[in-house]
C-alpha cells in the first residue's frame, strides 16, 4: 500500500502527472455528478430554439433539435466512461488470463490462441467494430463488448509476451525446481510480476477505448439515441455544421481534454511504475499500435 502511495505522490510531483490527475479527477467528478451539474435534460427537445448560438441560457448553444449542447456533453462524459472502463477491464482480464496460459503453457494452446489473436489484430479495430456492430446490433452493451473484443487480442499478445519472457526468469526455474505446479507458478509468481507493466497499459488504454467508442458512434454505429454520446454529438454536429458549428465545439473539446488527461496520467504512471517501458521497445510499439487504431 505504501508503495502505491509513494507512486501517487511521485506522480503528482510531476507537472504532467498533476495536470493529468486533475483532468481525470474532474472528468470522474463530472461523470458522477452529471445529472446534478447539467443545466438541462440532455434529451429535452425544443424545436423553437434549434441551432441557438451560445448565450447565458445555453453556454454552448443548442443543437439541431434545440437541445442544450453543454448538458449533452456533460452527460456524454458519464457515458464515455461507463463504456470505456468495463470494456478495457474485461478485455484486460480475458487477455491477461489467456495470454498467461498461452505464454506459459505454450504448445498447441499457445498456437491456437495466438492465431486467433492475430486474426483479430489483422483488422483495423474501427472496421472490425463496424462489422461486428452490424452483426450484433447497436446498444451500449454491444458497443462495450465490441471494444473489449478489439482490445483483447492486444492484451493477449502482450500478456503472452510478458509470460514468455518472465517464464525464463531464474526465479521461475527456481520455483519449478522446488516442485511448484503450473497453477502455482502462473498465478502466484508470474501473474503478480506481469501486472505492473500491464496495468500501465490499461491506464493508457482508457482513452483508446473512449476514442474507439466515439469513433464508432461518429460513423453511426455506436450507442443508439438519444444517448448523448460524444461520437453521436460529433456526428450530428458535423451533419449540421453548415448551419451551426457550435454543437461540435463541446464534444471536440471534451474528447481532447479527457484523452489528453488520461494519456498524461498514464504516461506519468508508466514512467514511474515501470521505467523499463519508457524507452521504445516492441512494447511501446504495441501501445502505439493500439492507440493508432
Amino acid at each position: 500500500m505504501s508503495e502505491l502511495r509513494q507512486t501517487v505522490i511521485r506522480m503528482l510531483a510531476r507537472p504532467a502527472g498533476s495536470i493529468g490527475f486533475a483532468i481525470v479527477a474532474l472528468t470522474l467528478l463530472v461523470a458522477v455528478t452529471a445529472p446534478l451539474i447539467a443545466p438541462y435534460d440532455p434529451a429535452a427537445i425544443a424545436m423553437a430554439k434549434r441551432f441557438a448560438a451560445p448565450s447565458f441560457d445555453h453556454w454552448l448553444g443548442t443543437d439541431h433539435l434545440g437541445r442544450d449542447n453543454l448538458s449533452r456533453v456533460i452527460h456524454g462524459t458519464r457515458l464515455a466512461l461507463t463504456i470505456a472502463f468495463p470494456a478495457v477491464l474485461s478485455a484486460f482480464a480475458a487477455g491477461l488470463l489467456l495470454g498467461l496460459v498461452a505464454g506459459y503453457v505454450g504448445g498447441l494452446i499457445d498456437r491456437v490462441l495466438t492465431v486467433i489473436a492475430d486474426t483479430f489484430l489483422s483488422f483495423p479495430s474501427v472496421i472490425l467494430g463496424l462489422a461486428l456492430l452490424t452483426l450484433v446490433g447497436q446498444s451500449v452493451l454491444n458497443t462495450t463488448l465490441v471494444i473489449a473484443l478489439s482490445l483483447f487480442p492486444y492484451y493477449l499478445r502482450l500478456a503472452r509476451g510478458l509470460a514468455l519472457s518472465t517464464r525464463h526468469q531464474p526465479y521461475i526455474k527456481a520455483e519449478r525446481s522446488l516442485g511448484a505446479g503450473r497453477g502455482r507458478i502462473m498465478f502466484l509468481h508470474l501473474l503478480p510480476n506481469m501486472l505492473p507493466p500491464l496495468l500501465v497499459v490499461v491506464a493508457m488504454d482508457i482513452p483508446s477505448a473512449i476514442v474507439i467508442e466515439a469513433g464508432l458512434a461518429f460513423l453511426g454505429l455506436g450507442v443508439p439515441p438519444p444517448a448523448p454520446d460524444w461520437g453521436v454529438l460529433l456526428n450530428e454536429g458535423f451533419v449540421n455544421v453548415a448551419i451551426s458549428a457550435w454543437p461540435l465545439v463541446g464534444p471536440l473539446m471534451a474528447i481532447i481534454f479527457v484523452t489528453t488527461g488520461f494519456t498524461l496520467l498514464g504516461e506519468t504512471f508508466r514512467d514511474i511504475a515501470d521505467p523499463r517501458l519508457a524507452g521504445l521497445g516492441r512494447r511501446t510499439g504495441r501501445f502505439l499500435m493500439r492507440r493508432a487504431r
Partner: protein
C-alpha cells in the same frame, strides 16, 4: 445506419462554405450531361431496379400514355391515338398512332408489339427468346388480372383483364416501366445479350452505348415519330450522356453536387435538401426542390403487438407525436403535412376532411392512464432502410413520447423479424415511395402484406374488400368515395400517424432548365437551354 448515411450527405453542407473554383464551364454544344446517377441494373423495362419513369426509360421507351412535365396528374396519350376503358372495366381498347418507328430500323410500331410487351411483362412469353432460368419479369404485378391483348388490326387491339383493373390507366400505362412498349422484332433479332446492350424502343433518344456502372450514351432518334405530339428536333439535345455509378461507390453530399458546380455535369438529381438550400444562393447553378406527393412519410404502430394492442395507447401516441416538429426535423420546411394516405394531387381518392390531430400531451396522459399503461417501453425503428434524416426524426418521436411517460428505444439496426414477426416490431418510422393510383397506394396495408410492408399489422376484411373494389371501379368519384372509406378505416385502426409528403431535390447548371413529372422525376428530353 441512418445516421451514417446522413453523415455522408453532410459533406454537402460543408461545401456550402467552399470557395468557388474556376468559373463554371457552360453546357457545351448540344449534349446534356446527367449524373452521377445510380445504374438501373439493366436497361430492360422489366428487370431494372428503378420501376418508375426515370431516364433512360422515359427517353428511350414510350408507353401508350404518359404523364407530362408539370404538376398535373393527368395521363396524356403517347403511342395511343385513342384509349378506351369498357364500361365493365375488364377491357381497354386502344388504337395506336400510325407511322411510329422503332429505333435502328426495326420497323413500325404495331399492336403486335403492344401484345408482346404486355405478355412479356406478365410472363406469358419468355423474357427473351433465349432467356435463361431466372430471367423473369420483376413487375408482373403491375398488370393486375391481365389476361391478354387481342390484336384486332395493325394498329388496334383490346387489353383484356379477368377482373376490372382500374390502376392500369393511372399507373401501369403512363407511369410504370413495365407498361413501356418494346419492339418484338428487335427482341427476336437481338436476343438477350444484344437487347441488354442496346434495347430498342420508340422514344426520342436511342441508345448508343451502355457501359454498366459507367456511362449510358443516347442520341437523338432521327426517325422519331413524335408520339408525344412534338417533333423530337425541337428538343435541344443532340446527345444525352448519363454518368452511371454503382450504388456502393455512389458519391453523396458535396461530391454529388460538385460535378454540376464545376461544370462537368449539367444536371444532378437526388441531392440532399441542405445542398439544395445552399445552392439556391449560387448563381452559376439552379437548385430545384420537388414535391413528391405520391411518396410519404408516416409512423406505423403495430396494432397486434401486446404493448400496443390497447387502442387507447395508440391514440395516446397519436396525441403525443408532434407532427410539425417531425417535419422540421427532416430539414424540410418545404414539405407539406399529410393527414391521410392519399395526397390531394392524386386527383382521386383525396380525403379533404381527414382529421388533423394536434398535439395534446394531457389528453395522451389521460388516455394512457385509462389504458392502465404505465412505464411503457417501446421500440422504434426504421426497417428496410429509410431517409437520411430518419435518426433525427426518431429522436424527436422518442422525446415526444417521453413527455407522455413512454420510454422509446431507438433500434438503428433492427432485426430481420422487426417487420416479419408481429410480436417483434412496434413503432416503425416509414418512408414509402408511391405511384399515382390509389390502388397502388393502398396496396401495402392489406392483410396479405403482413411480414412485407404492412408493418402496422392492421388487417381489416372490409379494407381488403374495398381495395378489390378500388381495382375494379373506373368511376373516379366512386373511387374517391371508396378511398375515403379506406382511409377512414386506416384512421380508425390507429395504426398510422401521417406526417408528410416526400421532397426530392436536384440541381442544374444555370443555363439549363430542368423539367420534371408530377412526382418529381426528371424528363430529360424536356430540359431546355436558356
Amino acid at each position: 445506419m441512418i445516421t451514417r448515411r446522413n453523415l455522408l450527405l453532410s459533406a454537402a453542407a460543408l461545401a456550402a462554405l467552399r470557395p468557388l473554383g474556376a468559373g463554371v464551364a457552360w453546357a457545351e454544344g448540344t449534349t446534356l450531361r446527367f449524373g452521377p446517377q445510380l445504374d438501373p441494373g439493366t436497361l430492360d423495362t422489366l428487370t431494372n431496379v428503378y420501376d418508375y419513369p426515370f431516364p433512360p426509360f422515359s427517353t428511350v421507351y414510350e408507353g401508350l400514355t404518359s404523364y407530362m412535365p408539370g404538376s398535373e396528374w393527368k395521363p396524356v396519350n403517347r403511342l395511343a391515338e385513342t384509349l378506351e376503358l369498357a364500361a365493365d372495366g375488364t377491357t381497354i381498347s386502344f388504337k395506336l398512332k400510325e407511322g411510329i418507328q422503332f429505333h435502328r430500323g426495326f420497323g413500325e410500331l404495331t399492336a403486335e408489339d403492344v401484345k408482346y410487351s404486355f405478355d412479356r411483362a406478365t410472363g406469358k412469353v419468355k423474357l427473351y427468346p433465349d432467356a435463361a432460368e431466372g430471367d423473369v419479369s420483376y413487375y408482373g404485378g403491375d398488370f393486375g388480372s391481365y389476361k391478354e391483348v387481342q390484336v384486332t388490326g395493325k394498329y388496334t387491339g383490346v387489353i383484356v383483364f379477368e377482373k376490372p383493373f382500374a390502376p392500369m390507366l393511372r399507373l401501369t400505362l403512363p407511369y410504370a416501366t413495365s407498361g413501356l412498349i418494346v419492339s418484338k422484332k428487335a427482341m427476336e433479332a437481338l436476343g438477350k445479350e444484344g437487347w441488354l446492350k442496346a434495347p430498342v424502343g420508340t422514344g426520342p433518344y436511342e441508345v448508343v452505348s451502355y457501359t454498366p456502372n459507367k456511362e449510358l450514351v443516347m442520341k437523338r432518334f432521327a426517325a422519331y415519330g413524335g408520339a408525344a405530339g412534338q417533333d423530337a428536333k425541337s428538343y435541344p439535345w443532340d446527345e444525352i450522356k448519363v454518368s452511371l455509378v454503382n450504388s456502393s461507390s455512389a458519391p453523396t453530399g458535396a461530391a454529388l453536387t460538385a460535378g454540376v458546380e464545376s461544370g462537368d455535369f449539367d444536371f444532378t438529381y437526388n441531392i440532399s435538401p441542405l445542398d439544395a438550400l445552399r445552392l439556391q444562393n449560387n448563381e452559376t447553378v439552379k437548385a430545384y426542390v420537388l414535391q413528391q406527393p405520391m411518396s410519404y412519410n408516416f409512423l406505423q404502430l403495430n396494432v397486434l403487438h401486446p404493448k400496443l394492442a390497447n387502442p387507447k395507447v395508440r391514440e395516446a401516441i397519436r396525441y403525443l407525436v408532434d407532427v410539425p416538429a417531425l417535419i422540421q426535423a427532416q430539414d424540410l420546411d418545404v414539405a407539406t403535412r399529410l393527414n391521410a394516405l392519399i395526397a390531394p394531387q392524386m386527383g382521386v381518392g383525396y380525403w379533404p376532411k381527414a382529421p388533423v390531430y394536434e398535439r395534446d400531451v394531457e389528453k395522451a396522459k389521460a388516455l394512457l392512464a385509462e389504458a392502465g399503461a404505465s412505464a411503457l417501453e417501446l421500440d422504434l425503428s426504421t426497417p428496410a432502410g429509410g431517409q437520411a434524416t430518419a435518426a433525427t426524426v426518431m429522436q424527436v418521436i422518442q422525446a415526444n413520447l417521453a413527455e407522455g411517460g413512454i420510454k422509446v428505444n431507438v433500434l438503428l439496426t433492427p432485426p430481420d423479424t422487426y417487420i416479419k414477426d408481429k410480436a417483434v416490431g412496434q413503432l416503425s418510422w416509414s418512408n414509402y415511395g408511391g405511384a399515382p393510383d390509389p390502388f397502388y397506394q393502398f396496396e401495402w396495408f392489406t392483410c396479405d402484406q403482413f411480414g412485407q410492408w404492412n408493418w402496422a399489422f392492421a388487417c381489416n376484411a372490409d379494407y381488403d374488400k374495398l381495395h378489390e373494389e378500388l381495382a375494379a371501379e373506373r368511376d373516379e368519384a366512386k373511387r374517391t368515395e371508396i378511398a375515403i372509406q379506406m382511409q377512414k378505416l386506416m384512421d380508425a385502426s390507429l395504426g398510422y400517424i401521417w406526417v408528410n409528403h416526400q421532397v426530392a431535390c436536384a440541381v442544374t447548371a444555370a443555363n439549363v432548365e430542368a423539367a420534371f413529372d408530377p412526382n418529381g422525376n426528371p424528363y430529360l428530353q424536356y430540359f431546355k437551354k436558356v
